[in-house]
C-alpha cells in the first residue's frame, strides 16, 4: 500500500473517532427525550407535528404496538412512492417529460427505498422526474433511516430497562430522529457538497457545444452534450447520512456532478460511517456503560480493517490479464496505477477501495467505482461484508441492532462453553431470545442462498447475467446478498430491470428488512420485562478485549460457514483461474 493511502485512511478514521463521542452522546439525549440546544428552534415544530398526528408523546408502546405502528407507516410510504412513480407523467416538476414507471420496476423501487436498501434497477436521470426524486425518494431516504434508528432505540431500551412493559413510542422516535439528527446533518452536508460542485437546481438539463464533436451510434456526428442537473445535493446528503445509497444519477457517487472532488468524496465517506459509528456510543450511554459501546465499535473495526486491506491490496496489484500488453499499472507520484477499469481518476485506487469497503460494511450501497469490474478478491471483500449481515457498522440503527443480536449469540456460545446460563448486560438470555436471534441470522442468509439458486435455474434469471464464467455467478450472488441485507450496491452488469429480478429482489428486500425488524422488536419486548441481575465473578465481561475478539469471531464464523461454498463458486474460483 502506498504511504499516501495510509495517510488518507488514518485521517478518515481519526476524524470519525473524534466525532463518535460528541455525536453519540447527543443522540442518547435525543432518544432519552431530554432537552437539547436545537430544541429551542425545533421544539415547537415537534409538538405541532404530534398534535396534527394525534400522538401523545408521553404514551409508550409495548413491542407489538411499536411494530404495528412501524408497519402501518411503511405501508403508507410504499403506496405513496408507488403511485408517484406510476403517475409522474401527469405531475409537475417533470422538465424532461419522463413517462410513468412500469409496474414491476415501480414496485421494486418503492420497496427498495422504503427498506433503506436503495437498490436501483433504473437510471435516475432517465427514469425519475424531479417530483418523484423529491417527494418520493428523498422522503423515503429520511423515513427508512429514521425507522432503523427508532428500532435500535427501542431495542436498547429493552436492554436498559427492567420489568418494563413498554419500549418507547414509535412516532416520537421517528419525529425526533428526523428533526434532531437527520435534517440538521443533511442541511450542513448538502451545502458543503454544493460548494464542491454537486448540482442543486430545479432548472432542466443544459445543452452545450462540445469542443470536438464525436460520433454517435448511427455514425452521425454529435456536436452537443447534455449536462444533466436537478436537486441532487439535497438527496445525496441524506443518501449518505441515512446509509441509503440511492444515487440521483445512474453512475451514483462516481458521477462527477454527484461527487466532484476528493473533498466531497471524503465528506461523503465520513457521512456513510458517521451515524453507524456514533450510535455505538449512544448505545453505551443509554445502557449506562460507555465501555459496552466501545467494545462493539472495536469488534466492528476488527472485521473492517482486514477486509479493507484485502480489497486495497488486490485492487492496487492491478488486473493480471492486462500484464504483458505494454501497460503501466505501477502506482507512482504521476498515476494511481492498479485496476482502474470502472474507477475515476480523481479517486484512484485508495479512495475507490476504501469507499467500496465502507459502503458495504455500512449498509449504504452507494458506489464511487464499479464493483463489477473489481478484481476477484477486491470484489470478494465488499460482497462478504454484505453477507456478514450488514453488522460491521451497518445501516443506521439496523447495523447496530444486528450486531447486538450477534452479541447475544456470542454470550450464548460463551455460556455453552462453560455451562452457565448466558446473560448480556445483566439480562438472562433464554430460549425466546435465542429463537428470535436465530431468525435474524437465518432469514437473510436463506434469502440469499435460495434466491441465488432459483435465479440460476430460471431462464429469466440467467438472462440478466452479463459477464461470462464465475464472474457472472458472482453478479447474481451479489444481487441477492445486497437485496436481502438491504445494502443496495450491485455488480451492476446484471440487467436487473426485468420482471423476474424486480419481483424476486423486491421480495428479498421486503423480507430481509421486516422479518429482521420484527424479531428484534420481539426480543426488545421480552428483554424489557426481565430483571437486571447484578454481575458476579462468573459473569463474562462484555466490555473486555476477550469479548471483542469473541464477537468478531462469531460474526466471521457464521459468515464463513454460511457463505464459503457460494463464494468458492464465484470470486474464489475466478481468482484461482486468473
Amino acid at each position: 500500500m502506498t504511504s499516501n493511502g495510509v495517510i488518507q485512511i488514518c485521517v478518515l478514521f481519526a476524524v470519525l473517532l473524534l466525532l463518535v463521542k460528541p455525536l453519540g452522546s447527543y443522540m442518547a439525549r435525543v432518544y432519552a427525550g431530554q432537552t437539547v440546544l436545537l430544541g429551542r428552534i425545533v421544539g415547537p415544530l415537534e409538538r405541532w407535528i404530534y398534535r396534527v398526528c394525534g400522538v401523545h408523546p408521553e404514551g409508550e408502546m409495548d413491542w407489538k404496538d411499536y411494530a404495528r405502528s412501524l408497519l402501518f407507516f411503511h405501508a403508507a410510504g410504499f403506496l405513496l412512492l408507488y403511485l408517484l412513480q406510476r403517475c409522474q407523467a401527469f405531475l409537475p416538476f417533470n422538465p424532461q417529460s419522463l413517462t410513468g414507471v412500469a409496474p414491476a420496476l415501480a414496485f421494486n423501487t418503492a420497496v427498495s427505498f422504503m427498506t433503506n436498501t436503495n437498490w436501483q434497477a433504473y437510471a435516475g436521470e432517465t427514469t425519475m422526474s424531479y417530483m418523484t426524486q423529491m417527494l418520493g425518494l428523498t422522503v423515503q431516504n429520511f423515513a427508512s433511516a429514521a425507522s432503523g434508528m427508532a428500532v435500535l432505540a427501542a431495542f436498547i431500551r429493552g436492554l436498559a430497562r427492567q420489568q418494563a412493559a413498554t419500549i418507547g413510542n414509535y412516532w416520537v422516535d421517528m419525529v425526533r430522529t428526523v428533526l434532531y439528527i437527520l435534517l440538521p446533518l443533511s442541511i450542513a452536508l448538502s451545502i458543503l457538497l454544493v460548494s464542491q460542485g454537486v448540482v442543486q437546481t430545479l432548472a432542466p438539463a443544459v445543452h452545450v457545444t462540445r469542443l470536438q464533436s464525436t460520433v454517435g451510434g448511427m455514425e452521425q456526428a454529435v456536436a452537443d452534450q447534455v449536462i444533466p442537473r436537478g436537486p441532487a445535493a439535497s438527496q445525496v446528503a441524506i443518501k449518505q447520512i441515512g446509509t441509503n445509497g440511492g444515487g440521483f444519477f445512474n453512475a451514483n457517487s462516481a458521477h462527477p456532478l454527484e461527487n466532484p472532488t476528493p473533498i466531497s468524496n471524503a465528506l461523503e465517506l465520513l457521512a456513510i460511517l458517521l451515524l453507524p459509528a456514533a450510535l455505538c456510543y449512544t448505545f453505551g450511554k443509554m445502557v449506562g456503560d460507555t465501555r459496552q459501546g466501545w467494545a462493539i465499535f472495536a469488534a466492528m473495526l476488527l472485521v473492517f480493517i482486514p477486509l479493507l486491506m484485502l480489497c486495497l491490496w488486490s485492487e492496487q496489484a492491478g488486473n493480471p490479464a492486462l500484464t504483458g500488453l505494454g501497460i503501466d499499472q505501477m502506482p507512482g507520484e504521476q498515476q494511481p496505477g492498479g485496476n482502474m477499469e470502472g474507477k475515476e481518476a480523481r479517486f484512484g485506487i485508495v479512495n475507490s477501495a476504501l469507499w467500496a469497503v465502507a459502503t458495504t460494511a455500512a449498509s449504504n450501497g452507494s458506489v464511487n467505482a464499479m464493483h463489477d469490474s473489481f478484481t476477484p478478491l477486491g470484489g470478494l471483500a465488499p460482497l462478504w461484508l454484505i453477507q456478514l449481515g450488514e453488522v460491521v457498522f451497518g445501516g443506521v440503527g439496523s447495523g447496530l441492532y444486528g450486531m447486538l443480536v450477534f452479541a447475544v449469540i456470542a454470550v450464548f456460545v460463551a455460556g455453552l462453553m462453560v455451562g452457565r446460563t448466558p446473560e448480556y448486560l445483566g439480562k438472562k438470555i433464554e430460549a425466546f431470545e435465542m429463537k428470535m436471534a436465530s431468525l435474524v441470522i437465518l432469514i437473510p442468509a436463506a434469502l440469499i442462498l435460495v434466491g441465488t439458486a432459483v435465479a440460476l435455474i430460471a431462464k429469466a434469471g440467467l438472462a440478466g447475467i452479463s459477464n461470462p464464467g464465475p464472474h457472472g455467478f458472482t453478479e447474481v450472488l451479489y444481487a441477492f446478498s445486497s437485496a436481502a441485507n438491504n445494502n443496495g450496491s450491485a455488480f451492476a452488469g446484471l440487467s436487473a430491470d426485468s420482471v423476474f429480478y424486480n419481483l424476486s429482489l423486491g421480495l428479498a428486500m421486503l423480507i430481509g428488512r421486516f422479518w429482521v425488524m420484527i424479531p428484534v422488536l420481539a426480543m426488545a419486548g421480552s428483554l424489557a420485562g426481565k430483571k437486571i441481575i447484578p454481575s458476579g465473578p462468573g459473569t463474562l465481561p462484555t466490555h473486555a478485549p476477550l469479548f471483542v475478539v469473541l464477537l468478531a469471531g462469531v460474526v466471521l464464523l457464521v459468515g464463513a460457514l454460511t457463505f464459503l461454498p457460494a463464494l468458492a463458486l464465484g470470486p474464489i474460483a475466478e481468482f484461482m483461474v486468473s
Binding site: 495517510i7 398526528c53 394525534g54 437510471a123 460548494s195 444519477f249 488486473n319 475466478e574
Partner: protein, 190 residues
C-alpha cells in the same frame, strides 16, 4: 386500526412536506445564493456560449487534443444524459479486446511512442464522464499533441504541468489533469 392509520398517514404527509418539499427547496435557495456557479453545473463558457461543464468530461480522438479516459456511455462516448460504466469483469475477454484496441489506437496516432501506456488511459471510468486523467496519462500524450500542432514539446509539457491539480490539502485524492480545460488552453495558445 384507526389508532395506527391516522398517525401513519399524517406523519407521512408532514414528512413529505418537510423533507420532500421544504428541505430541497431551502437547500436549492441557499445553493443558488451561496454557490450559483457550482449549483448550476459548473458551466464553462467559450465565445459567449456554454461549452461544457468543468466537471464533466468530453470525448476527444483527434491527435491535436489530449484524449480523456475511454467512456462506456452509449450510444456515443461521454453522453452525459446517461452516465454508465462498462461493468466488464477483470477476466472478461471483451475487456481484454477493448484494451488492446485502445492501445493500438494510441500507437497508431503516435507510432514513435513505445513507452508503457498509463493504465487509466486505456480503461473506462466509473461514470463514463470522468473529466480527468492522471498526470502520467497526460505526459504520455505530450509528444503526439506537440507534433500534431507543430508546437515545441517543452511548451506543451509546461501547459500540462500548469493545469495539473495536486491532491487536496496535499493528501486527499489523486493528482489529476482536467482534460477539457487543458484542451481549451491548447486552443487558446494561438
Amino acid at each position: 386500526m384507526r389508532h395506527f392509520i391516522r398517525p401513519a398517514v399524517a406523519l407521512l404527509f408532514l414528512l413529505t412536506l418537510l423533507t420532500g418539499v421544504l428541505y430541497p427547496l431551502v437547500i436549492t435557495g441557499l445553493a443558488q445564493v451561496l454557490f450559483p456557479h457550482q449549483a448550476n453545473g459548473s458551466l464553462v463558457v467559450r465565445d459567449g456560449r456554454p461549452a461544457g461543464s468543468a466537471l464533466v468530461g468530453q470525448a476527444f480522438d483527434d491527435s491535436r487534443y489530449f484524449w480523456g479516459r475511454p467512456s462506456a456511455t452509449s450510444p456515443f462516448p461521454y453522453n452525459a444524459a446517461a452516465s454508465a460504466a462498462s461493468n466488464l469483469g477483470p477476466s472478461n475477454p471483451e475487456l481484454l479486446k477493448a484494451v488492446r484496441e485502445r492501445i493500438a489506437a494510441l500507437h497508431a496516432a503516435d507510432p514513435d511512442n513505445r513507452q508503457p501506456v498509463p493504465v487509466d488511459l486505456v480503461t473506462t471510468s466509473g461514470s463514463g464522464l470522468d473529466p480527468h486523467i492522471s498526470p502520467a496519462a497526460a505526459l504520455y500524450q505530450v509528444p503526439r499533441v506537440a507534433k500534431a500542432r507543430g508546437l515545441d514539446e517543452g511548451v506543451v509539457r509546461g501547459l500540462v504541468l500548469a493545469h495539473e491539480r495536486q491532491r487536496n490539502f496535499g493528501f486527499l485524492g489523486e493528482p489529476v489533469v482536467p482534460v477539457l480545460e487543458l484542451n481549451m488552453a491548447l486552443e487558446a495558445l494561438r
